[in-house]
Symmetry: C2
Subunit: 356 residues, 2 copies
């Protein structure tokens, strides 16, 4: 499966490339207090172990700059400084080693302030994210989605044009709303009008269980259409939870294939075996395999063989027996009792031979 992706130019953020065909990276944000270096490093190290590629820290005041510099020395991940209102904090963060600064031009004082940040980034080789949020667009209340999406996209393109005119191009762009339809509409509106990488997220999406759905729709819906270079799922919860969910989202959309994917049917009145149990057991027994294999567990002869055939290996149930498929071809018929063992052995054998 090759998902056609929007072409974007590469932007260097420390040792990470965003855009330009690089894998979609996963970000989160440190939630510990800016003066608690140990707590910050614990969150960064945990995020890194879970596969996070880039991490952001809020710099709310000058006192946060010195610990930020120390965190930069210790961090295994490139760092983004999150700045609002104050250009001196952005310049200070760049001097302290920030690989990228995230600014929302809409809440900076004036263009002189923004120009100073861009010059500092240019000299230091740091990138800038232009991050436009529904929270800083006015007026909001009473406007429909299209208006807010249009406002987000027009603001982002205007800021981009002005910053690009300063001779700076290490730019990532984000347009975030607190609902998925606006987020999708805003990003679709800019995706064809410029070629800078897009950072995707649904902002203020709420508690984890609500946010996962909104983010899957908003971020996943764009990724599924080939749009998006880096993602951040934002929860009212831990950075680790955000990273785990971000990686799961990449798997669900097919952009990260680092384990066995189970394709199993929902079953219906045709199904004469306990398919839910079979799928759950196959998933558990194949969870250790770190290869991009697609395994079908299908309940009947209608769509079963067809969908099993799309997969690397698959079984489709008949009356008291299963058909075993590999690479689109029927291999043999097996009994219900042996089906799980035979399927798992086939997958293990394929995984052994798999060329990394």
């Amino acid at each position: 499966m090759t998902l056609p992706r929007r072409k974007s130019r590469p932007v260097k953020v420390g040792n990470l490339i965003i855009g330009g065909g690089a894998p979609v990276s996963v970000q989160t944000m440190v939630k510990a207090s800016p003066d608690d270096i140990n707590a910050i490093m614990a969150q960064i190290n945990e995020a890194a172990e879970l596969g996070c590629n880039l991490i952001r820290l809020a710099i709310p005041n000058r006192a946060a700059l010195q610990p930020f510099a120390e965190v930069k020395r210790q961090s295994p991940l490139p760092l983004v400084a999150d700045i609002h209102f104050n250009e001196h904090l952005a310049i200070g963060a760049i001097e302290a080693g920030a690989d990228k600064v995230r600014i929302n031009p809409g809440n900076m004082k004036d263009w002189e302030a923004i120009t100073a940040v861009v010059k500092a980034a240019q000299q230091a080789g740091a990138a800038i994210r232009i991050g436009v949020n529904s929270g800083s667009i006015r007026p909001r209340k009473g406007e429909d989605n299209r208006d807010l999406a249009t406002a987000l996209s027009e603001d982002a393109l205007y800021y981009l044009e002005r910053i690009e005119a300063m001779g700076f191009d290490q730019i990532v762009v984000s347009l975030k709303a607190s609902d998925a339809p606006t987020t999708i509409a805003a990003n679709l509106a800019v995706a064809g009008k410029m070629d800078y990488p897009l950072h995707l997220g649904v902002t203020a999406a709420g508690p984890e269980e609500d946010s996962i759905l909104k983010s899957a729709i908003g971020v996943g819906g764009l990724l599924a259409q080939g749009i998006g270079d880096t993602i951040r799922l934002s929860f009212t919860g831990s950075p680790a939870a955000e990273v785990r969910a971000g990686k799961e989202l990449l798997r669900a959309v097919g952009l990260l294939r680092d384990r066995v994917e189970i394709i199993s049917c929902p079953t219906c009145g045709r199904c004469q075996v306990d398919l839910q149990e079979m799928a759950a057991q196959a998933k558990a027994r194949l969870a250790h395999i770190r290869k991009p294999l697609k395994v079908a567990v299908m309940g009947c002869e209608v769509n079963g063989p067809g969908e099993a055939a799309e997969c690397d290996v698959g079984i489709a149930a008949g009356k008291g027996k299963y058909a075993l498929f590999r690479d689109g071809k029927l291999l043999k018929t097996i009994t219900e009792t042996e089906a799980l063992d035979v399927l798992c052995a086939e997958v293990e054998a394929l995984a052994e031979k798999f060329d990394d």
Copy 2:
């Protein structure tokens, strides 16, 4: 928030209207054996109580027709008969009272068989879903997503054109693949080319936890762009689980607003209160309110006031205190201790006055 939706013509399925601006309906499928009327009715009644609008049953053979007729007499929901291969089963199901039959023309014998089904539906006033699946498109293996999406969309449009030419227009169309990108691409490809209602789903999406993400991306990504008239989330799990997830998806995309939605920020180093706890408590205390109110619980002064202002009621934390907003206006500053009570009292008061 008004999501612009694709215009589709209304199709009558029993007492339910699909398309034509009707609310997006939620479907599931009975998984009990076709001869076990009690088990079938238990699944249908549970689904109906959870807000399911339409339910489908597989008719694998002639023996299933008589219990289907009895289920039709007892069912509070309109029924769809799921038919593969055999036109006589489709005609039998229509005679037994099916409100809609789902056929995949790609696996029917020939056009004579399909014509016989269309005639029976026409005479009985039943609808037909043309359901095209990745499992019945050939060749599959080795093609990329675009090819499979194109194949699904071309097949669906071809079947639609031929059935429409028979003078029949009570048609719902579905194009399903087992991955979200193909599902989105296939539906986007047909959405502008015809005005029949679209039934959305990702097929064979796997165990519940995997399927929720894939369906949120595929089904939710389309709904968020205004496409889709009825949905079915398919899990290797119970009909009740499918219905619950379908309703949650409609809520997440803003198409079902029947309770309080919490907008809360992910927090960062700026946040000086325990926002995760505050958001969780607000959510729990407001869970009983069945009104479409949007409540913000924001952690700081940066995006907080802006995003709180988008909501009906909101609080944004400062240092040891909260700002209380209603309808975009700052009402007053309240202490951290009283914040939850004051917020909940405001929401309760708004809910009282809310015009249903």
